[in-house]
């Protein structure tokens, strides 16, 4: 028998979701009890405190300075919002003057005397509501631009995602323009090496990144302006992507919202496993960043494709799927809708295996069915690419075809020179020519064929689901953090108190602390 859908057991899928929800609750307890320096700085960014000051030759963000001052004076566990409100009332100044005073070192927010608590709390609430309204206004503008230029989503084909990574934001713009002209729908500005490990967001436009360009508010803005200008010409809204993993998730989400980012690569699991960021820190940060994304209608993009790079991709299917369920539930807990979840996976199995294309189709179609509303992020082959650019191009062609026939949401284009360097203009152009041919030529292909319900593809996908269920049961039984310690994901072990940024987590003093954004933004935790 042939069917348009793979015969996957719906009860097993629901069971996976149920276990994932319980894992989500384990993380929820942490989020309820604690905040982080990253969240506090994110709140300050939402309030508009986005300046920087010269500090030991560097541009140091005011948001960081405020958090440092509060920490020094042991006020941090009462929250940055509370103490900003307190300073404004006590000094009877505007928020702009407060920022100026702090930047010029005239005001130390940790030392401002206490105002009436009740009045302060009420004022803090008002500040937050205003910031929230602001975000909604930005979102409104974005929506309008999207309608004016025309959203490529209406074309019912996967979106074409390419990266730019010159290190210089202005050179990035040249590269992005060229890519848009050749048909790209999403431009991802690759972030400078190791920025994810900085505990602050650099300031201003930058021209000297390494292996990428610094993610800064000013860089976001100049790229957004360039893409909008081009989008109105090509009559296609161009989405902009950057990175929101690492030690500044909340802040990047806030700045991204203000500057019209459309997608953010946002995945605490990636930070934990591949950047050795403290699990508590990044999972708490992630929740807040996803709340902001939810309101700003920013798609989050998750990094499960990376698991396949470190372990045998044929066997890693269960980990990928388990992590996808966990990512889904943590996004739901932050108030996100499935349409905003660009859940990640990749074509990374060893191309020399017999039936490898069938296995890849099985995975891609299975993921499509399990997350029907998500704009799935499907990543090209990277692991088995070498300096042989011609064979790499062949792999990409197959990738594009699988992406098309399984209706993926976003295709992260492969480059022939993937294993050699960050793409040259011509590499990207050749890759776009390839995908334009495939997407155009195979439009509607999935409507024409069915899957053999007893066939190899069906059986392979069923096994991945079965294995995933077993894995989730094991994770749940061990406890999420214990399981990570025991190398359940990507064969990497991380401990709950280890990793970078652990000292940025602090317990909330629930009597005073307030973060009204939880309620305003519809957090489920």
């Amino acid at each position: 028998m042939y069917s348009k859908r793979l015969p996957l057991d719906e009860r097993k899928i629901s069971r996976c979701r149920k276990i994932a929800a319980e894992i989500g609750n384990e993380v929820g307890l942490l989020i309820h009890k604690n905040s982080t320096v990253g969240i506090e700085r994110g709140i300050l960014r939402l309030l508009g405190l986005n300046g920087a000051l010269k500090h030991q030759g560097l541009q140091y963000p005011v948001a960081n300075l405020i958090v440092d001052q509060l920490r020094e004076s042991k006020r941090l566990n009462e929250g940055a919002l509370f103490w900003v409100a307190n300073a404004i009332l006590e000094k009877n100044i505007s928020i702009t003057d407060l920022e100026k005073g702090i930047a010029e070192r005239e005001i130390n927010i940790g030392k401002v005397s206490s105002h009436d608590i009740k009045k302060t709390k009420k004022f803090a609430q008002d500040l937050a509501s205003k910031a929230f309204q602001n975000l909604k206004a930005y979102r409104g503008t974005r929506r309008k631009t999207m309608t004016q230029h025309g959203d490529p989503l209406r074309e019912k084909r996967p979106l074409k995602y390419v990266i730019v990574a010159t290190g210089n934001i202005f050179e990035d713009i040249t590269q992005a323009k060229s890519a848009v002209n050749d048909g790209a729908d999403i431009i991802a500005v690759i972030r400078s090496t190791a920025q994810s490990l900085l505990d602050y967001v650099p300031h201003g436009t930058t021209t000297e990144g390494f292996g990428g360009t610094y993610a800064t508010q000013a860089n976001f803005r100049v790229m957004r302006e360039a893409l909008d200008e081009l989008g109105s010409k090509v009559k296609r809204y161009i989405r902009l992507t950057n990175y929101c993993s690492g030690l500044c998730m909340g802040e990047i989400a806030a700045l991204g919202s203000l500057e019209g980012l459309d997608c953010l690569l946002n995945d605490a699991m990636y930070g934990i496993l591949f950047r050795d960021i403290n699990p508590r820190r990044t999972l708490i940060d992630q929740h807040f960043s996803r709340m902001i994304c939810s309101v700003s209608e920013i798609w989050i993009m998750t990094g499960e494709d990376n698991y396949m790079k470190t372990t045998d991709a044929v066997k890693a299917g269960d980990q990928v799927l388990a992590s996808q369920f966990i990512n889904e539930v943590s996004a739901l807990n932050a108030g996100m809708k499935p349409e905003q979840m660009s859940i990640g996976h990749a074509m990374e199995m060893d191309p020399s295996y017999e039936k490898v294309v069938l296995m890849e189709i099985a995975r891609a179609q299975m993921t499509r069915q399990i997350f029907p509303e998500a704009p799935l992020k499907y990543m090209c082959a990277t692991k088995y690419k070498s300096g042989d650019i011609f064979t790499a191009h062949a792999l990409d062609t197959v990738f594009n075809l699988i992406g098309s026939m399984t209706n993926q949401g976003v295709l992260l284009l492969g480059m022939p020179t993937e294993a050699i360097h960050t793409p040259w203009m011509q590499d990207r152009s050749v890759a776009l020519r390839n995908i334009n041919y495939i997407l155009n030529g195979s439009l509607g292909l999935s409507e024409e064929f069915g899957y053999n319900t007893e066939g190899f593809i069906a059986k392979f996908s069923q096994k991945v689901l079965d294995d995933c269920l077993k894995l989730l049961e094991r994770i749940h039984k061990e406890g999420f953090f214990k399981a990570i310690e025991k190398r359940v994901f990507a064969d990497v072990s991380r401990t709950i108190n280890g990793g970078k940024g652990a000292d940025g987590v602090f317990e909330i003093d629930h009597d005073v602390y307030m973060n009204p954004f939880f309620k305003l933004m519809g957090s489920k935790i």
Binding site: K177, S178, A194, G211, T310, K383, G387, A419, S429
Partner: protein
């Protein structure tokens, strides 16, 4: 088959000694008849002849992409080419791991870094990070290696300090940027600093990068050089063999 003249080695397209080459590049000008001529002339300036612009098309705004077929006339005398090659037995990671634990009896301690201004960790990460390269897993995944990856822009002295602190067996230097021969400058600097501190014999020294050859590495005082396309298992194999060699030399003494 036609006789191949190794004294005048040339590329092979479909006829011996035809010197056939295919090139692709982009010029920052719009495609036009003039652009085509410019591409022809530029390729001629590079020393090619019989130039055919097989393809010219627009890329983005203001750029032209070319695919060019041409023939090269400058050959090389292959009988005089010298390139010392690392002669390593091919082993996969499981086998190397087993051998290290069996013969070295502890993990090999390795500290890696990109020194100087070089911020390109792509090569270093390809060898050290778990993910590895082209399906060949990185040394971090081996049980037989204890890896410290210091990342990029590490001052030479800090790299040495760390190697001493970790009681490292080997240092892995990665040099990607080669503008103005900065890679050679930085490679020399490491050797000089080690000498200054009397540590020149302490570590196995391995260097890698796109412009690095084994020959260059040996000339500058390294034990091995790995160029583009080298696999983590190649480096692992070399380090294992070198460890054994050192151990045997010690025993003889």
């Amino acid at each position: 088959m036609a006789e191949i003249d190794l004294k005048q080695l040339l590329p092979y397209g479909d006829t011996t000694q035809d010197g056939a080459v295919q090139l692709s590049f982009t010029l920052p000008i719009e495609p036009s008849a003039k652009a085509r001529e410019a591409a022809t002339q530029i390729v001629r300036n590079w020393g090619f002849f019989d130039i055919r612009i097989a393809h010219m098309s627009s890329i983005g705004i203001g750029y032209a992409f070319f695919v060019v077929m041409a023939r090269a006339e400058k050959s090389v005398d292959y009988t005089k080419v010298e390139a010392p090659q690392l002669d390593l037995q091919k082993r996969d990671y499981k086998e190397i791991d087993k051998k290290i634990l069996q013969d070295v009896k502890r993990p090999i301690r390795l500290v890696g870094a990109c020194t100087g201004f070089d911020a390109h960790t792509v090569g270093l990460d390809a060898i050290l990070n778990m993910k590895g390269f082209d399906g060949d897993i990185g040394l971090e995944r081996y049980k037989g290696f204890k890896v410290v990856n210091m990342g990029s822009q590490v001052p030479t002295d800090e790299l040495i300090d760390r190697a001493v602190k970790e009681n490292a067996d080997a240092i892995l230097l990665s040099k990607v940027v080669s503008q103005k021969d900065i890679h050679i400058h930085d490679m020399r600097e490491l050797i000089a600093s080690l000498k200054k501190r009397g540590l020149e014999r302490r570590f196995i020294l391995v260097v890698g990068g796109p412009r690095i050859t084994h020959k260059l590495a040996l000339e500058l005082g390294y034990d091995a050089g790995f160029t583009i396309g080298s696999r983590p298992s190649d480096v692992a194999n070399f380090l294992y063999e070198k460890m054994i060699e050192k151990k045997n030399a010690k025993n003889k003494k």
